[in-house]
């Protein structure tokens, strides 16, 4: 019996192989091999490419624990990830709700397009556009001073809020999309049933809509939190000197200091931390979902 089902699943796998092969081949070449090389680098004293002698070491990982700076930066990055994720929920969830439950037809398509638009523009262009908006004498400053009767100075450039604004702008579409998909799947009659039973709109939201859209919120949060913790472009350009985070330090190791082994080691520590956080959160999130 067991042998039979084993052969059955075996033949199932064989027929699925042509379909699976391209994806796995691509993943092997494009991700697994470079990543393996990085794991290898992270245990080396120096890059073999430079021609200097090298040896295996755990020193790169030890560096993280011997200097409190790295831990401080990692915590700052985790906080950044948390804040950006929360802002994305605050901004993205209501938008997704309106898209899924209020708007219909052409207006829904139009608003949807506006949400997707940041995805289609170049990331660097997006960030430099924000720089033009946020700096002193920039678009926001000029516009506010043109409207307001008193003089104010808006210079958000090179600040923590600027980093948050840039990151939220880049990542909010993920939250809108994942929440939209789960919200759209909620039958309107469930909302009506809740209200017919005497629940206010807020009670229906709290007890029916949010629990049912939790999978979308969780997926969106995971999609946003992980890359934001490792982000370096927005912090560097919009944050300036205040924009030193774990991600920018890793970037420095690769492009400025040319200490690839340390950069690789720091990356894998980040990966491990993120995986631990997701693993710890998953029972809670699964119950919520």
């Amino acid at each position: 019996m067991a042998a039979q089902s084993a052969t059955a699943s075996c033949s199932g796998l064989r027929s699925a192989l042509p379909l699976l092969a391209p994806a796995y081949l691509w993943l092997t070449v494009a991700i697994f091999l470079p990543l393996s090389a990085m794991v290898f680098f992270s245990f080396m004293t120096d890059l073999p490419l430079t021609g200097k002698p090298w040896a295996f070491t755990l020193g790169n990982y030890a560096a993280f624990f011997s200097q409190s700076l790295y831990l401080t930066l990692l915590l700052a990055s985790l906080r950044l990830g948390l804040e950006v994720t929360l802002w994305c929920i605050v901004i993205g969830y209501p938008a997704a709700y309106v898209l899924a439950k209020v708007l219909k037809g052409r207006s829904r398509e139009a608003i949807f397009l506006l949400v997707i638009l940041p995805f289609w523009s170049n990331g660097l262009v997006r960030i430099f556009s924000w720089a033009m908006v946020l700096r002193e004498g920039g678009i926001l400053d000029t516009a506010l001073n043109a409207v307001l009767p008193f003089k104010i100075n808006i210079d958000l450039m090179y600040s923590y809020p600027a980093v948050i604004i840039g990151l939220v702008h880049s990542y909010v579409p993920y939250m809108v999309l994942t929440c939209y998909l789960t919200l759209q799947a909620i039958d309107d009659s469930l909302i009506e049933a809740g209200r017919s039973l005497g629940a206010s709109r807020l009670q229906v939201l709290k007890r029916v809509i949010i629990p049912l859209s939790m999978p979308g919120l969780v997926a969106g949060a995971a999609l946003i939190f992980v890359p934001v913790v490792g982000s370096f472009m927005e912090p560097r350009i919009l944050g300036g000197r205040t924009g030193t985070f774990y991600g920018t330090v890793i970037e420095d190791q690769f492009v400025a200091v040319f200490n690839w082994p340390l950069g690789a080691a720091l990356s894998f520590i980040l990966l491990a931390v993120v995986l631990v956080i997701l693993a710890l959160a998953s029972p809670v999130l699964r119950r919520a979902a």
Binding site: A193, R195, S196, G198, A199, V208, P211
Partner: protein
Amino acid sequence: MAGVQVSNVSRSFGAHKALDDVSIDFADGGFYALLGPSGSGKTTLLRQIAGFDFPDTGRISIGGESVERVPVEKRRIGMVFQNYALFPNMSVADNVAFGLSVRGEAKAMIAAEVQRALDLVQLGKLGGRRPHQLSGGQRQRVALARAIVTKPRVLLLDEPLGALDKALRVDMQIELKRIQREIGITTIFVTHDQEEALTMSDRIGILRDGRLVQEGPPEEIYDRPKSEFAATFLGDANIFRGDSTGNGIRLPDGTAIAAGAGDRLAAGAKASCAVRPERIRIGIDAGALDGDANMLKGQVSKRIFAGNNSTYFVERAGQTLKVIVQNTGADRLAEGQDVVLRWSPESTVLIATS
């Protein structure tokens, strides 16, 4: 419990008049069916009573209290949806408890009421299940328990049995009727199934194109339809069209059809007569069918045998008439046979045509 009064309610969506000056009085404790084809406005009317949508003009009151601008959550109604609309993220018991718990009732009181409601719908042991673990009929019962546990003033049902298969539907009809009697709640249910409307309700309202065509007890609507539409939508009817003779009509070929003594219309006006297929007697010669005033001759074009009865389709002057004959063991008529049809004036309803 309370009665519901709908007075002169109209509702338009753009240029489409979904409800056009509808007035119905739903008495306290009654079981009402709103019957009509799709697009007739029956669901729109139910949603106005529920409070999901407000009328453009007109009044709605529940238990004498004017509610036409009161939102649904404040109307104290119970509603059962066509697709049941059970909350998939909650257990059966939590679904039923929802209405009580949003009101902030005490936990012990909620548990007792939920158990009572589940017992009433004979699902006392399934409180811990999830909706997706239940059959269609069971989900229907949970939806009903959830709707009545809050002790609403009115119970509204939107095609509640539409998604069930035939045998289960008949069971649920009986069950629904039993529960309604037991708690004595005013019940309004929307259906397009005429049989369901006939067997379950104390009164039926027939809607068409947003207007109330006729309203009354099922027997009255079936026996005394006031329009061709009511006659043909609720049950089957043979319709004859001609000119009124005062107490009947004259067909274009000169044949007179007499209607019941109570039916009177001004002579000369366009009018029609409706006759139910089971009221017509059919035979080979007129003598054997003595007694009834109305008589037509025709030819059997088709016979459909259904066990307890047979339906004959009889061609007469370009019109196909339908006759249903109980299976009494008498000889059946062959297709192509020339036949005589007879029926009494009392079985004929005179209808004014506009």
